[in-house]
Structures are given as C-alpha cells and as structure tokens.
Amino acid sequence: MNRAKYFAFLVLSLLPLEPITLAEGVYCAAGDSTNTKSSAQPTTSIGGYGNAFYQRDVDNKTAMMDLERVVLFVGHEFSSRTSFFSELEMEDAKVSGGEDGGEISFEQAYLQIRIDPTHSISAGLFLPRIGILNENHLPTEFNGNERNQVETFIIPSTWRELGIGFYGSLSSVPASYSIALVNGLSSAMFEHGSGIREGRFEGRNASANNLALTGSMRFFLQNTVIGVSGYYGGSVGLSPRQADSLQLESGIFGTPVIVGESHLEYESEGFNLKVLGTTVSIPKASDINRAYANNTPLLEYGAYLEIGCDLFQNIYRVAGQQLIAFLRYETLDMNAEIPSNGILDGTLKQRHIVCGLNYLPMNNVVVKVDVRFAHTGNQNPALILNPSPVAVPYNVDNTFFNLGLGFSF
C-alpha cells in the first residue's frame, strides 16, 4: 500500500461510522460534561498537541527549523465501560512519496474497558507505563524544546506496542499499578548509536513469536510521585528454523531485552523536581552482533535530574501565566558494556546540561527557549570505514540553542 493510500486509510479509520450530531454529545476535550451515569450517551472528544522549533548548532554553525510534530487526539466513549483512545501523529510536517523524512503514525489507538472507576483493561496500540515521558509527552508539560535524551535513547519514548494491559489502583495506599503483555522488539532492526529504539515495531506488522511483559508501580505521596517499572521481552521473532540458522535463541522471551527504571517527581507551589534512572540489559548481545553485525551493547544506562521553578508564582506574581526556569543534567551511555564482538563508540557516552525558560502566556500554550551543552567521549576511528579526506575533526563538546512553540488542548 503506498503512503497516500495508507494515509487515507488512517484518516478514514478515524472517522465515526455514523455522522456525529450534537445530540450525541460531541464536545471539545476541555468541555464541562459531567457524565456520572452509566446511561451516558456516546460521546466523542477531540484534542491534540504540537510543537515547532528553531535549532542552532553553535559549534558547527548550522541551523534548522522544523514543525516537529502535530498530533490529533480522538477519543470516543461507546458506553460507560468502553472507550476508544487514539493519537494520530504527523512528524516533520510533510510526507512525500519516495523521499526521506516525515512520518505519519498512530501513537496510540486502543480500546479501554473499565471494570470499575479504578481498574481497566486496554487493548490495542498503547504506551506502556515506563518512565515519565512515555505516557505524558505533551510539549506543554516538559521543559525544553527537545525531549530529554535519556527518555529518547535509553527508554525509546514514545514507546508504543500492540498488546493488552491491565491498569489499576490500590485502595489501601495511594498507588497505581499496571501490567501489560505486548509484542517484543526486533534485534535485527537495532541500529548502532540508537540503543533499542529502532527495534520497536510501533504497531506495524509486529512479530508475535516473541512477546514482552512490562509492569509498573506508582506511589502518590501528596506532592510526590515515586515510580518503578520494568520490561522483559524477547527480541527474536523468527521461526525456530531461521533462528537456529543464525544461532539465535528464539521463543517468546528468547534473546531477551531487560529494561529497569525508577523515578521521582515532586511538584509544589511552582517548584518542580524530576529524577530518573534507567538501565537496559541485553545479555545475548554477542549473538545479535554475530547474526546482524549491528554493534548491540550488553548494557546501557541513563539518568537525569531536573529542577524547575515558576518565576511568576514565586517571585514576580503574575496570575494566569507561567515562566518556568529550569536546569537539567543528563548522563547516558549507550554502550556502557559491550560484548567481545562489539566495538566501543566513545560518542555514545554522553553528558548534557540543558537550561532555559518556558513561558506559558496561558494554559497549554508555550514559548520555549533553551541551550543544551552536549559532551561526548571520543570518536573511535575503527568505526569510520571510509574516512573522508575533508572531514572536519569530531567535536566532543557542542552547544545547541533552541527556540520554539508548543501547544496542547
């Protein structure tokens, strides 16, 4: 199916089977409906978010601008117990046949069945509860123009897969939990320099020979949220015969990828703190490298600490607006440990310091300005197969200036 047909199919699949009338309760997502009763009429809600930014690579003296993403959220409540949620995303503004760049994809598309007000089952394409950013990634809700590097490359947000999940809250303590069974990753698609990110299927023709289990616990302690989550999944979706020929372990959890993560968020009176740490372990990375030569690491890790303060709440007292000053420190290593057949790449050991301002003239509209100071290890000449005679020396230090806009509704 070509891209135009695929897009048309996606758009048509979003449309309701019957025309929606006001009598059926169509309202904007921020509406004031109070459907307390199980006999509520079917309702459709619409929302969305997007962001665009300018980035100046100070050291290389280049600059770019991009409408990074625009996402349309459509939800429909069939009954008090059954709902549909979706997010259709367009990245980089344009998709054109035969050209690189741009992407149209569903970020989420799932049915939710509520067992009671605090327990539900989700089935379809959804975002497993791993880390802070994966579920809550609206540009008005995170600091800086760029999503943090740790939750982009170590936890490959936004990480969505097909499967079924159970979500609930405890009644004895203020805590919620989730457990989900989703399709696994494809180690054949892992790419050097991006961790496990390219191994995601994101709902497209996912192999179901290998699966993954993921679970999370989140504790709410007034202004503090403490979360832990884990992921254990197979990364070889081949038939046993094919896997044997590549000397790879197949099966549901064959050639596993293990992700662990914990985080803490604190928010009070305009002050915000986020701390997150995560590791990715691939014990049979050596087998993957032997089969696919993609320089898969044994171990990756990442951590960040971010503090933010709303100056309009704490210093200048401007009602209805926010001016958030923030500072984030990130450290990550996408080849913290490599197998004997791997090649160490110093550039994948990184440190980033990001500082900037988010100005929200009203709720859900943001203007962002920030600077990211990036530092990496040295380039490994063994990884440059055909060195260009005119290549400029690799900079281990680089500075990026970002200016952008974001919205959500």
Binding site: T34, T36, G47, N136, F219, L264, L298, A336, N363, N364
Partner: protein, 140 residues
C-alpha cells in the same frame, strides 16, 4: 570494581532507597477509604460518621463511571468532586492532597482546580445536602 557490578550495586541501592522512602512515607500516609453504595433516585447517601476519623472519603456508586471525592470542610459543610478528568474524561487517581490523571498528566488540587494541564477546567462539583446523619450527593 567492574562497571557492570558498579551499575548493579548502584541500581540496587537506588531501588532500596526508593522502596525505603516509599515504605516510610506510605506508613505515615493514611489509607484512602472507599465507601461503596448504590444510586437511589439519582442520589448517593453517605453516612456522616464516616468522617469521624478523616476529612475526605472516596465514594463509589453502583454503575457510576467515576468515583466521587467527598470532603468535610472545616465549617461542617461538604464538597463532592467528580473524579473525572475534564480534559479527556479519564478517571482520576487521588494523591492524598489532589488528583492525578494518568492519561495525559493533568493534576488538580484538593479544591478541584487545575494545577497542571492539559486540563483547563476545574473538576465538576456535585451538589450535596446534609440530612440528619447522612450526606446526600445529588447526581442531577
């Protein structure tokens, strides 16, 4: 020490610290009571004596889509907030001093006011009235 061992021990330490903090904090945190009842004539009836030990009570009505946070205020009146996110109508989680929506991250304070978007409308407040030893929540 090998890097792998260092990472393992650091992660274990972090998890132990996190679980220690959680356990300490949770032990000092009162459990959230849920009072289950049935809907009669579009009303929910909640006994006043439930508030002898706490000021807030989560009320769950049969067949209702959302729980209700019923708070006894210092002046003796009651406030009932519908635990439905005003952004995308997802059920909310009570955090001890407010409400959190896991779907898009909206937060509301104990008065139902938005403290963190994308929600922009406060939580719906339901009418209440006190009748002898009960609080009646009106769903209409």
């Amino acid at each position: 020490m090998e890097r792998r061992e260092f990472l393992k021990s650091t992660c274990t330490l972090c998890l132990l610290a996190a679980s220690g903090i959680s356990a300490t904090a949770l032990s000092s945190c009162a459990s959230i009571p849920i009072y289950e009842t049935t809907v009669h004539n579009d009303t929910l009836v909640v006994p006043v004596n439930l508030f002898s030990k706490q000021t807030i009570q989560i009320v769950r009505g049969s067949d209702l889509e959302y729980d209700i946070a019923l708070e006894r205020r210092t002046d003796g009146t009651y406030r009932a907030l519908l635990m439905e996110c005003t952004h995308a109508h997802n059920p909310l989680t009570f955090t001890g001093n407010g409400f959190f929506c896991p779907l898009h991250g909206s937060r509301f304070d104990e008065n139902g006011e938005v403290t963190h978007g994308p929600a922009s409308m406060p939580l719906a407040e339901l009418r209440t009235q006190t009748e002898e030893n009960d609080v009646v929540i009106m769903l209409y």
